[in-house]
């Protein structure tokens, strides 16, 4: 008889956000003893919400470095190259050019999350989250100004909706970059372990 497998999505989420084999293994062990998917999901959600924030609190200087890294990447690529150099040369009224421009912008955000994650191992996800939180806080004044101008009628509601959507998409893309970097690291580790195994296995030694 095979042991019951815990919910795959919750396990995937745990592996990307917590990356502590002890915690992930303990949850699998307990799930097999209890057999409750609801319990596993609850534990996974608590872990992914508590663990990264705890890591940010414990490694404040690393979080500050992650924020500084994200800011430098944003300033060089998004603010200077994309908005300062590329944008004046293109016509954003054309749908194709507009799609390409925004595609490039979000690709840069994806790359930003990826680089932060790569430079801040083993706390990759937590450090990307730190930069996300900073970006969220930095978004408050411009969004607040838009809300005020929408209320007094000087700006259309669609501008506010677009601004909020673009900022949420930016945060999601940043985290996606971080999660992809963690996922790739874990795939690499698995491949390395698989390559090492035949050399160390008794069967390989006997051969």
């Amino acid at each position: 008889m095979t042991s019951p497998q815990p919910p795959a999505v919750a396990t995937w989420l745990l592996a990307r956000v917590c990356s502590d084999p002890g915690l992930c293994g303990d949850l699998v062990e307990e799930y097999r003893a209890r057999g409750s998917k609801a319990w596993y999901w609850k534990q996974a959600l608590v872990a992914v919400s508590v663990y990264p924030f705890s890591q940010i609190r414990e490694h404040k200087w690393l979080a500050a470095r992650a924020i500084a890294t994200g800011l430098v990447i944003w300033y060089v690529f998004n603010a200077t190259l994309l908005k300062g150099v590329v944008r004046p040369w293109i016509n954003l009224d054309a749908t194709g050019v507009r799609a390409l421009y925004f595609g490039l912008m979000y690709a840069l955000w994806l790359g930003n999350g990826w680089i932060i994650a790569k430079l801040h191992r083993p706390y990759s996800t937590a450090m990307v989250l730190a930069y996300m939180l900073w970006s969220l806080v930095a978004s408050v004044p411009p969004v607040y100004a838009l809300v005020v101008s929408t209320i007094d009628g000087s700006t259309e509601g669609s501008a506010l909706a677009w601004s909020v959507f673009a900022r949420v998409a930016t945060l999601v893309t940043l985290m996606a970059g971080g999660v992809l970097a963690v996922h790739r690291d874990q795939l690499k580790q698995t491949r390395t372990a698989e390559q090492d195994w035949p050399r160390e296995s008794p069967r390989a030694l006997a051969g």
Binding site: S3, P21, G22, L23, D26, E29, K42, S49, Y51, E58
Partner: protein, 111 residues
Amino acid sequence: MAKEYLGNLELMVLLSLIRVGDNAYGVPISHEIEHRTGRDVALGSVYAALDRLERKGFVTSSLGDPTPERGGRAKRYFQITAKGVKEVRDAQRMLTNMWTNLEVLQGELAS
């Protein structure tokens, strides 16, 4: 550097770690807390507390071998350090001093 004091959960985790003894890892530690306090603690919260305790130098941890029962993942074993034991003693002394001669609580116990 300012002295770092133990939080409520951190103290419970350290006491459970002492009770479980050798081969203490997340599952028996959380079971011990649930058994002794009647509180349902999330494993993620226990690990977050253990990480803080490790950074403060009150516990150390080491990884065991991966096992199939745990989906190929290793157990992370925790041991309390001498500094951790001293911290628990200090916490006990401080709390006992705070509890001593509290008439309100004695009245509650008497009634």
